[in-house]
C-alpha cells in the first residue's frame, strides 16, 4: 500500500478530516518522498515526481534567484528556466555529491546566464590597478567598528537582501558569488568574463558600500526607535 492510499485509508476510517484536508495531507506526504525516489522519478520524466522536486526545493531555489535579480517577477522567470534546466540535466547527476549543492550550482549558473542575457551586468568604477592593501588599510579601523555595530543590530535576512538589492549590479553579483556562494575570484572572472582584478575591486567596493548602507539603516532604525519611545 502506497503512502497516499494509506493516508486515504486512515482519513476515511477516522472520518475526522475533510476532503480538502485529505488533499493537503497527501500533498505533504508526497513532498516528503526522499531525494533518491524523486531523482529516479524525474529521470523517467514522471510529472508527479517532477512536481515533488519543485515543491521540495522551489523555495530554496527562489531564495537564490532573489539574490541575483532585483525583482520578484524576474526571480520567478529565472526559477522556471532554472527548474527546466535541472530536469534536463538530472540524468547527468552523479549521486555521490550533495543533491542540494548540485541544484544550487545549476541555479547559480542559470542566474548568471539570465543576467547576461538581460544585460543586467554593468560594472561600475572599473579599475585594473586597484590597490587593495592601501584601500583596505585606510578603512580597516572604521570598517571594524561599523561591522561590530551591524552584527549587534541583528538584521533579518530580508533586511540584508533589500540592502544587497540596492547595490550596483556588478557589486551585487560579485558579493553574491564570492561571499555567499563561495566562488573564487578566478571562477568569478571566468563566469562573468572579467579580469580577476576587476572581480577583487568590485568585491572590495561592494563590501564598503554595503557596510555604509547597513550603518545608515541601523542609525535610521535607532532614531525611529528612540522617537517612538520618547
Amino acid at each position: 500500500m502506497s503512502k497516499t492510499s494509506l493516508c486515504f485509508f486512515t482519513v476515511k476510517n477516522i472520518g475526522l478530516l475533510s476532503c480538502n484536508h485529505y488533499v493537503f495531507f497527501c500533498y505533504i506526504v508526497d513532498i516528503m518522498i526522499d531525494d533518491s525516489k524523486i531523482i529516479e522519478g524525474c529521470r523517467s520524466n514522471r510529472h508527479k515526481y517532477q512536481m515533488a522536486l519543485y515543491d521540495k526545493y522551489a523555495p530554496m531555489l527562489r531564495g537564490i534567484c532573489l539574490r541575483y535579480v532585483k525583482n520578484g517577477a524576474d526571480a520567478d522567470d529565472l526559477l522556471q528556466e532554472g527548474f527546466i534546466k535541472i530536469l534536463k540535466n538530472i540524468s547527468n547527476y552523479v549521486e555521490t555529491g550533495s543533491f542540494k549543492a548540485w541544484l544550487k550550482r545549476i541555479m547559480i549558473n542559470q542566474a548568471i546566464n539570465f543576467c547576461k542575457q538581460k544585460k543586467l551586468l554593468k560594472y561600475t568604477d572599473l579599475c585594473e590597478n586597484f590597490d587593495f592593501d592601501t584601500e583596505d588599510a585606510n578603512d580597516d579601523y572604521d570598517n571594524r567598528k561599523v561591522e561590530n555595530r551591524i552584527i549587534e543590530a541583528n538584521l533579518s535576512p530580508q533586511q540584508i537582501l533589500s540592502l544587497i538589492n540596492e547595490l550596483p549590479d556588478g557589486y551585487r553579483m560579485v558579493i553574491n558569488l564570492y561571499v555567499i556562494d563561495g566562488f573564487s575570484h578566478k571562477e568569478i572572472a571566468e563566469q562573468l568574463n572579467i579580469s580577476v582584478n576587476t572581480s577583487k575591486s568590485q568585491l572590495s567596493r561592494a563590501r564598503k558600500t554595503l557596510l555604509d548602507k547597513t550603518n545608515e539603516l541601523i542609525i535610521k532604525n535607532k532614531v525611529s526607535y528612540e522617537q517612538e519611545y520618547k
Partner: protein
Amino acid sequence: MSRNINNIDDLLRSSFEDFSSAPSPAVRAKVSKSIKNFNFLRFNPGSFNVFYLAAIVLGTSVVVSISAGVFSSESEHPGTTKNAESGRNSAVEQSVIVTNSGKIVHDSEIADFEENTEENNNFPLQQTVTDNYTDLNVSEKSVSQSDNSEAEVAVITETDSIPEEKLFVFDTIVETVKIVVADTIKTEVRKTVEVKKNRRNQK
C-alpha cells in the same frame, strides 16, 4: 545570529545559508505547464501516446509519398537527369532514329543516305527510309550529344511503363517501411504495457 560572526562576510553567509522564499501558486502552475510541454517533447516509452503514433504514421506517409513521387516522376520523364547532366556540357540535341536492334541512325547519316538514294533512284527520303526499315519497329527519340561527340542515349521502353526493377525496389521500400512501423508500434506498446505492469506491481 551573532554566533561565530566576526565580519560582514560571516553575517551575509549565515543570513543566506538557509534563505528561502516560497513562490506563488501561479508560478507553480506555470512550471507545471512547462514541465508537461518538456515531457511531451522528450520521447519517453513510458508515456507513449496517440501523438507519438500520429507522428510515426505521418512521417511514414510522407516518406512513402515522397518515394512514390520520385518513382512516378522517373517514369513520366525518363532521361531527364541524363539530359540535364549533358546540358551542363553544352550538349547539342539531335534527332535520331533508334532501331529495335539498338542501332542509332543520326541526321547526318540520313542526309548521306538521302543523297545516295537521290543519286541512284531519285526516291524521296522518307519513303526510302521506310522501305529500308519496314521490318524494324522504330521510334524517334531525343538524345543529347556531348562536346566530344559521344552521344548519351536515353533508354526508353516502348510501353512507357515503370520498369520491373524499379517497381520491385519501390515495393521493397514500402514493405520495409511497413515492417519497421509495425515493429516500432509493437515494441512501444510492449514497453508501455511492461511499464504499466511494473507500476501496478510496485503498487
